[in-house]
Symmetry: C2
Subunit: 488 residues, 2 copies
């Protein structure tokens, strides 16, 4: 050991007493294992009391505090008031649960703390391998490129940026959007498309008006005839169609667009074919679902979210791009202080910072690498299949009770339903179901989500949950019926 | 415990044997503490052997593997070939070292695994508090807004997106960039500006041409006269100046632009004043540096990078915005499936997804919260001050050896120098110094960075390192002199 660093008078951010710090981390591990393994026994959600809310209003700490005291503060005020998405009866929005292998991988990402912007080190190879695995899963060729990103929003943003640059036909990186394209470029997607795609187009300078929302069929998939009609009309009036976004698994109802037909249309019209696969693309791992995703491999770019149905801890998005050159051409920018070397740490051909917005990047590949090695794709596939089956099991329960009704066809793993005792106006039904949903939370029974479909408020059950059992859905239905009766 | 989950036949992604998994995690903690506490004794960097490179070429695992075997794979092939930025003699690019308190916070972020997109839960309050602390540090008012993001690239992108939208004068989110603005909007910054800002402008549809790079003075700060002249000229020829980016701490040499003068110019010309403070803004914590940053509080938006001089594990960027409404107006987008509730988990006024590109977001605030509570701002300030002092200590060493020379004035904590025995052409000097730098790596002596300033290759020492001692710089200088002599 260097004399200076073992000298207590040399202040660093390292623990003064390594053994005490190590003991604290061991305690954290025990607490964490208790926390995760006993998740079913804890309240799924609870509101924060006033003293906890008050605790977050203190000003920035100037003096040091004992690490153990800081941890106790966390245990008292943060840990008990968690979101709840680890719980077997959490089905809100669309999230995963997390896993122990993901926690372990993330732990080592923080310990090793490399920067995945680029360079010649093992973490870079791990990310390359994870991207290759994703290409295998989706059916993309070896020559395709990819990047792990923060999530679906960034994955879609990245795909749409490449689409914009690849299709505009001039050096948009240098010139910016040309006047003749301002207000003219058009992207097509179903009216059920996730809002993050609109946000991406706004940021890219194309505006929300560039997104042509195409009506959906009764099953909430994009209406292909309406799509073709709109594209042709737009060409005719001098607009510039350049991209279609397909959705294999919409956020509201899990509807899967006909990907092969969309690919045909894109080929015929020379459009970029992007897929927002944040919810559904990874269902390629399920032999039972895979055939519904036929055509996914024909996309130019696909967005995935591994913190959803692969249950990685946040953040773990991924974008895959068929044409590696177009991908790199959109993002590569190498000033003198990032120049590569021929040997050593700064060597290597492809740096990940050349494939996305970020320069410094966390080692988010490690949790995916460790998890896929531990569980294998077939187990993930079985978890996905089971969630789909559970959606239909829940559908059967709903069908069997006359006071419950489905509001949309069940797509993938998403069920939208409501309590309807009959004789109520739409408005009264909406108020009643909203209250049922809130009381499910407040009584810590279950945490489904909600949405509104054609003015009908629905309880929306999005089952990306490896811990849910059939009994959990029995419990949900029983509670909704009881609450409905009580509140009506 | 629910009967079904304790039933071994119910497959989940949870460990089949919790105690075995817990023991593995404890082993990881011991290995990690050894890894971090003994970092000085390990090679700073080493190349990967062929069998390790080979190990990353296997296809996606289909069947499960024992978690311990996966870990052993990691220990053999990943851990030894790390980037090296934990080491006391790592001064490449511009990174932090990480800390144990950061690791602990990140661990719990993965365990709790909440989604910081929004909602009523404690993690949200923790992030609010961390943002409030950053506002306090920078001198922004309580009414300002902010967001934790992946890093400096995203923080600058966010600030520039708000600048674009706030200054264009119409509903650019809806319409996109208007034809009359295409190719016309202009942003001003010194020629030393970090490339991520150009990348941001390209993605925002404005193009690299929108970035007017203003010459620098001999100390690498922006030339204010040239800036004013350029702005006036651009107005005159019908361009649309809308933003100035100041840099408190440039990436090449650590130069600090005159922020008060830039603020004056922005006020006079009605321009948005953005700061790329990824390197230098957090030096507000150093009483010795703070005065050089005077005017920082006058910016409309500031980008910070807490994984740099605060040594948080990746990723920890932050953007602060003076006008909360303009910030929210750029990013808020709430479709029906993200509608807020009046009570319960989905309540709360301000969701973080309304302030940035991401919807799902990791609990990255926790590591910052725990670290600031444990160490306090004054200790972080002392670490920053010491690095600045070390830069000047290194400068003194360089001055004292006739075969070494500084290539630029020392700015903040960045030293650019070279070995120059005299009598060599510029080209020969560049080749020699490049080889010295490579051999420093390959002999595992030290990991400085490098850059090129006015055609001169420099060894660039960026000292954001809480573990570096003065003796580490003695060692660097001694080794450069020896290598120079040997290789010349």
């Amino acid at each position: 050991m260097n004399e200076k660093t073992s000298d207590e008078s040399f202040e660093t951010l390292d623990p003064k007493d390594w053994e005490k710090s190590r003991a604290l981390m061991h305690q954290m591990v025990d607490d964490a294992f208790d926390y995760v393994s006993k998740v079913r026994d804890r309240k799924i959600w609870q509101d924060m009391p006033p003293e906890t809310l008050e605790s977050f209003t203190t000003s920035v700490p100037r003096q040091p505090n004992n690490a153990k005291a800081v941890y106790e503060d966390f245990v008292q005020h943060v840990l008990p008031y968690n979101m709840g998405n680890l719980h077997p009866r959490f089905w809100a929005w669309y999230m995963g649960n997390g896993t122990i292998s993901g926690i372990m991988g993330d732990f080592w990402a923080s310990v090793m703390n490399p920067n995945l912007g680029g360079g010649n080190h093992a973490a870079h190879k791990v990310e390359e391998q994870v991207i290759n695995w994703m290409k295998e899963i989706i059916g993309f060729p070896e020559t395709a490129s990819g990047l792990l990103v923060s999530g679906g929003s960034m994955a879609n943003f990245t795909g749409l940026a490449i689409a914009r640059n690849a299709k505009c036909g001039y050096d948009i990186r240098k010139e910016g959007l040309r006047p003749e394209d301002s207000g003219k470029m058009r992207v097509y997607a179903s009216s059920e498309i996730h809002s993050c795609n609109q946000k991406a187009l706004e940021l890219l300078g194309l505006g929300a008006d560039s997104l042509q929302k195409i009506p959906v069929n009764a099953d909430y998939t994009i209406n292909l005839e309406a799509l073709v009609t709109q594209i042709k009309k737009d060409w005719e009036i001098g607009l510039r169609p350049f991209c279609v976004i397909g959705t294999p698994g919409t956020v509201n109802t899990g509807a899967i667009d006909d990907l092969n037909r969309l690919a045909d249309i894109c080929e015929a019209e020379d459009l970029w074919f992007h897929l927002d696969g944040a919810i559904g693309a990874i269902a390629m791992l399920s032999p039972e679902v895979k055939s519904q995703l036929a055509g996914i491999e024909r996309a130019h770019s696909v967005a995935l979210d591994l913190h959803k149905w692969l249950h990685m801890p946040f953040e773990s998005g991924c974008v895959l791009v068929k044409d590696q050159k177009m991908h790199k051409d959109t993002f590569s920018l190498i000033p003198e202080y990032l120049a590569k070397n021929t040997r050593g740490i700064a060597s290597g051909d492809n740096w990940f910072s050349e494939y996305g917005l970020q320069l410094s990047r966390r080692f988010r590949a490690l949790k995916v690498w460790m998890s896929l090695k531990e569980h294998g794709t077939e187990r993930f596939g079985r978890m996905i299949t089971r969630n789909v089956e559970q959606a239909h099991y829940l559908g059967t329960l709903i069908d069997s009770h006359e006071n419950l009704e489905l509001i949309a066809p069940i797509g993938l793993d998403i069920v939208c339903f409501r309590y309807n005792p009959g004789g109520l106006t739409l408005e009264a039904l909406n108020v009643l179901n909203k209250e049922i949903k809130l009381q499910l939370e407040e009584r810590a029974i279950a945490l489904p989500g909600y949405t509104t479909l054609e003015n009908s408020y629905c309880i929306r059950v999005a089952i990306a949950n490896h811990r849910s059992t059939d009994e959990d859905f029995d419990e949900l239905v029983k509670s909704v019926l009881e609450l409905g009766k009580e509140l009506h």
